[in-house]
Structures are given as structure tokens and as C-alpha cells.
């Protein structure tokens, strides 16, 4: 199962990289969200999936799944959520002010 999830994460990374190398700003942001999904999936899979019950003491199980990665993912999700929101608004402002969402036209330096 871990192998499968790791491959899925790899595919997400590939698609994300492809999107980030795109010229369109919105696709870049989509690529970044895919990146964060892949990271969280990797973080979840990397220390073994489903090694025991859900980490709730009420389950009274013999073994529990490692709760540390889950806490890390939760933290990382909210951070990347905030970043995506900020990036979307920034992209919107840029579109309004500069009138383009093409990264080629956002270069700005005429002599380069």
C-alpha cells in the first residue's frame, strides 16, 4: 500500500512540476496546490499506513497509527492553505494592475 501511495505522490509531483513550468499564472498556482497535496500524501505514507487503530485512546486498541505525521500534515495543510489564498489574491491583483497573467510578460526587464 505504501508503494502505491508513494507512486501516486510521485505522479502528483510530476504533474505539479509540469504545471509550475507553465506560462499561465493560474496553472502555476494549481501546480503548487498539487505539490502540497503530494507532500502531505508522502508525509502520511512514509512512516507506514494503517499500522493500528486511529490515534484515539477510546479505541482501546493494541497498537495505534503514528499520530506525529498527522499533526505535521495538519499544520502543513493550514500553512499551504494560507499561502494559496494569498497567492490567488496576489495573482488577481497582478492581473488587474498589469493586465496579463502570462509569466513571459511579467519579466519587466527590457534589456534582458
Amino acid at each position: 500500500m505504501e508503494t502505491f501511495i508513494t507512486i501516486i505522490a510521485g505522479i502528483l509531483f510530476t504533474v505539479g512540476t509540469y504545471l509550475i513550468l507553465n506560462k499561465n499564472l493560474l496553472r502555476i498556482i494549481l501546480g503548487i496546490t498539487l505539490f502540497s497535496h503530494a507532500t502531505h500524501l508522502l508525509l502520511m505514507a512514509i512512516n507506514g499506513l494503517k499500522k493500528g487503530a486511529a490515534p484515539l485512546l477510546g479505541e482501546n486498541a493494541a497498537s495505534y497509527t503514528d499520530p506525529v505525521p498527522q499533526a505535521l500534515i495538519l499544520t502543513s495543510i493550514v500553512i499551504s492553505f494560507a499561502l494559496t489564498a494569498f497567492l490567488l489574491v496576489l495573482g488577481y491583483r497582478t492581473y488587474v494592475e498589469l493586465g496579463t497573467d502570462n509569466m513571459k510578460q511579467l519579466r519587466g526587464n527590457t534589456h534582458e
Binding site: T39, L42, L43, I46, T75, S76, L87, L90, T94
Partner: protein, 494 residues
């Protein structure tokens, strides 16, 4: 009593939050920011004093002991950097009082400066690698807002690039932490160091360490600095000074911490790569610094050269070279803040940063001119000033360790740095003046107070190098001998 360690993080955080409620009261915000930063400086001086007398301070947050909870660890390295960061933050805010527009001030600029300092101080003091990531994000999110605040076209354009680059490097940081956690099963840095030492740093761990290196290299502008010149020249002057002095240095601190505490077992791979990257960084940075005719670009490339030079010292990993690197790091934070503040003042007087367009400022602003001249000499490392001591120690280490090519690169790039900053001096201060007698007499004066305070620091640090070195050497001792750090963190358990 070790609770004192949380104060440099929590004072800026609480003041920054408090200031959100007084958006329109700019005068009050200015008083608040000065008071809170003076408090932070006082507290960090006290922390340094205590560490100097009694060794490393460890605070287990929430009372959970070392590997299970988050511990804040104050050793001399972190405490010195916290003190310098707070001083720089105060100077940049003093500069911001006069140099930023009123529109800026009512849109929470002081809150974000304090939250940025909270992130920086937290990154220096934390003893947990995931917590380091979180404090990095606290710092970076504030820096995104500070960069974009104002909404000019160039700011929007550059902050898009800056945010994308940093989000990707943060993603890589989380991946690196995930791999490290799956191999070692811990997140506490002291515990990580112990585990890596027991299982041995094999190929897998070395790969993970290189992933960490590339993440921190992106943050600090070591070799992967392509994003830096653009975004640092888009920010308003006071913010650019803050960025140049603090942001890249947190990346350097993270490299120093991970590669002296955790991944120090395979220096022939990791530290050779650091040295190569440092050499290329110095060369490319110096080339950039001499090739541009815009003040902002020249100064931004100077940041890059200094990053290369500090990591040259770190890459050699002897006691002497680490002492030199830390001394130079402290000097460079002060000098970069100073020269960006003065450069910002020059730009605001002329209203442009093209060097070919103006000259003859010395007649109207002699004090600004001489402050700039001292800053330029300090940056290049001329003897009575602070840049000299760090450079000499690193270069001496380089020659005795047999890194001759690196040392030559270090010396040559120092000359190029001197050329690039003196070029600004000659073209803006000398020559026939283009300004009329009363031409904007009032602009640029806000740089004089923070500028002269920082110059005093730089001269004092150069003259009192012996005294500063006693502190720096204590920090280098921990860097060369990680067991001091580990013992301090796990002391309570025994």
C-alpha cells in the same frame, strides 16, 4: 528561569498583534514598536550574559521533556543572532518612520515588521526541525506581505516570483523533514543528531542532507540566488534593508545548524558541495555587483557575495573558520542593514537609482556621504572596521587548510565588492552637483540616526574584536562539538 528564552519570540508577537487594533494611530504604533524592540534587545542581552556565564539554556515548552515536546534551545550562536536581529529590526523601523509613505503605515507595516522578527527569532531559538519550518513560514508570510505592500507594478511582479519560489522551497523542506522522520523517527534536533550518529550517516541520510542543503540554499541565496536580486530591488528601502540583513541569514543559520549538529559525518561529500557552491556564489555575486549601474542591483548582489563568503568559512568546519564565519555573519548583518539604509536614502534624494544620472551629493549631505564611505570600507573589510577580522580568520583558515583557490576567490571578490560600492560613492557623491541649493533638503534625513548608530556598532565591533571574539568562540565551540548541545538538551532526563 529558563522561561526568559521565550521572550524574544513572544514580545514582538504580542506587540504586533496589539498594533492591529490601533491601525490609524501611527504615532502610537511607532512608540509601541520602539519600546517592544528595546525590550527585546534588553532581554537578548540578558540571555547572552546568562549563556556566557552558565552555558546553554534549554526551555521545554509546556513541560514536556526533550524528544517529546518542543524545546527552545539558546546557545551562544542563536543568542548572538537574536540580539543582532533585534537591533537591526529597530534600526530599520527607525528608518521606516521617515522613509515609508503614510499609506504604508496605516496598512499594518509595523505589525508585519514585528511578526517578521518573531519568525526570525523563533527560527534562531528553536530546537525542533518541524518547528523551524513553522517559524520559517511565519517569517516568510510576513515577508511576502511586506514585499507586496503598496501594490506598485514592480512589487506585484516581483512578489509573485518570490512567493512561488519560496512556496516550492517550503514544500521541499516538508519533504526533507518527512524523509528524515521516516529514517530516524524523531524531530528534535539534539535527538536527531544522536540517532544519526548511532545509525551512521549512510547514503540515504546523505541524500536527505543534500535535500536540506538545497532547501536552505534557496532560502539563503547560496548558488540558487536567481530570485534574490529582483525581489530585493522591488521592496521599499526600509523593507529591503530588513530583508537583506535578516532573511538570507536565517537560511545561513539553518545550514550552519544542520551541518554542524546533525549531518557532520560525511564532510567529504556534503561540505565539499557547500564549498563548491560557496565559490560559485562568490564569483557570480561579484560579477553581478560590478556589472550593474543601479544602486539596488549592486547592493543586492553584494548580499549574495557575502553569503558565499560566510559559507566558505562554514564549509571548512574547523574551529577557527567557524569562529570567523560567525564573526563575519554578525558583521555582515549589521553592514548590510547599514548600506541598504544609506543606499535607500540616496535613492530617495535623487528619486532614481540609476548611477549615471546623478552626482555631487557630498556638498549637500556630507554626513550621509561619510557614513556611506565608512560602510563601504567595512563591507570590503578594511582593517579598523568590523569586516576585517572575520575575513582574516576565514582566509587564514583557508590557507592553512589548503583551500588555496577558495582563498584567492575570497580575496579577489573582496576587491570587486570594494570596487562596486565605491563606484556608488564616486558616482553619487563626487563631481559637479546637479541638485539646486534647496532641492529636497528634507528627504533622506531619516537615514542619519539609524545610519550613525549602525556605524558606531561597526566601528566598535572592529575595535573591540577581542571582546566580541570571546563570545563568538563560545558559539564555535558548540558548533565543533555537538555533544555539548545534546547534553544540554537532555540534561533534565538524567
Amino acid at each position: 528561569m529558563s522561561n526568559v528564552l521565550i521572550l524574544p519570540i513572544i514580545i514582538p508577537l504580542l506587540t504586533g498583534m496589539l498594533m492591529i487594533f490601533f491601525r490609524r494611530h501611527v504615532r502610537m504604533q511607532q512608540w509601541l514598536i520602539v519600546i517592544s524592540l528595546l525590550l527585546t534587545i534588553g532581554v537578548s542581552t540578558f540571555i547572552i550574559h546568562r549563556i556566557f556565564r552558565q552555558g546553554i539554556i534549554v526551555l521545554d515548552v509546556g513541560g514536556w521533556h526533550a524528544p517529546y515536546g518542543i524545546s527552545l534551545v539558546g546557545d551562544m550562536l542563536s543568542a548572538l543572532l537574536v540580539l543582532i536581529a533585534s537591533i537591526i529590526c529597530l534600526m530599520c523601523s527607525l528608518f521606516a518612520f521617515g522613509s515609508t509613505s503614510n499609506d504604508h503605515k496605516v496598512h499594518f507595516v509595523y505589525s508585519y515588521i514585528l511578526l517578521l522578527l518573531c519568525g526570525v527569532n523563533g527560527s534562531f531559538l528553536t530546537g525542533d526541525i518541524f518547528n523551524l519550518f513553522v517559524f520559517f513560514e511565519v517569517m516568510l508570510i510576513s515577508s511576502y506581505v511586506l514585499l507586496a505592500l503598496g501594490g506598485k507594478k514592480i512589487q506585484l511582479r516581483e512578489s509573485i516570483k518570490y512567493v512561488i519560489i519560496n512556496v516550492i522551497s517550503s514544500t521541499l523542506f516538508v519533504i526533507a523533514i518527512a524523509y528524515l522522520y521516516s529514517i530516524t523517527g524523531t524531530l528534535n534536533m539534539a535527538h536527531l543528531s544522536e540517532r544519526v550518529a548511532t545509525i551512521g550517516q549512510d547514503g540515504l541520510l546523505t541524500t536527505v542532507s543534500l535535500l536540506f542543503l538545497s532547501v536552505f540554499a534557496l532560502k539563503s541565496g547560496l548558488f540558487l540566488f536567481f530570485w534574490l536580486p529582483g525581489s530585493y530591488s522591488a521592496a521599499p528601502p526600509a523593507i529591503a534593508a530588513l530583508f537583506a540583513a535578516l532573511l538570507t541569514k536565517v537560511g545561513i543559520y539553518a545550514i550552519i545548524r544542520t551541518f554542524t549538529l546533525i549531518f557532520y559525518h560525511q564532510p567529504e561529500i556534503t561540505h565539499t558541495i557547500i564549498l563548491c557552491m560557496a565559490a560559485i556564489t562568490m564569483i557570480l555575486g561579484a560579477l553581478g555587483a560590478v556589472s550593474y549601474w543601479e544602486i539596488r542591483k549592486i547592493l543586492a548582489y553584494n548580499v549574495i557575495v557575502a553569503v558565499g563568503f560566510i559559507l566558505f568559512g562554514v564549509g571548512m568546519r574547523t574551529f577557527e573558520s567557524l569562529t570567523g564565519a560567525l564573526f563575519y555573519l554578525i558583521h555582515d548583518m549589521l553592514a548590510k542593514a547599514l548600506i541598504f539604509i544609506l543606499g535607500g536614502a540616496i535613492i530617495s534624494i535623487f528619486g532614481s537609482d540609476k548611477l549615471r544620472n546623478f552626482s555631487g551629493l557630498l556638498l549637500f549631505r556630507p554626513s550621509l556621504g561619510w557614513l556611506y564611505f565608512i560602510a563601504a570600507l567595512a563591507l570590503a573589510g578594511v582593517p579598523p572596521l568590523s569586516g576585517f577580522v572575520g575575513k582574516v580568520i576565514i582566509l587564514k583558515g583557508g590557507i592553512t587548510e589548503g583551500h588555496l583557490i577558495m582563498s584567492v576567490i575570497g580575496i579577489v571578490t573582496s576587491l570587486l565588492v570594494l570596487y562596486s560600492v565605491i563606484k556608488i560613492f564616486i558616482h553619487s557623491f563626487w563631481g559637479e552637483t546637479l541638485l539646486s541649493e534647496g532641492d529636497q533638503k528634507a528627504t533622506g534625513t531619516s537615514a542619519l540616526l539609524p545610519g550613525s548608530i549602525l556605524v558606531t556598532f561597526i566601528i566598535a565591533m572592529g575595535l573591540g574584536a577581542e571582546w566580541v571574539l570571546t563570545y563568538v568562540e563560545q558559539a564555535a565551540e558548540v558548533m565543533t562539538n555537538p555533544s555539548i548541545y545534546i547534553d544540554a538538551v537532555f540534561k533534565q532526563i538524567d
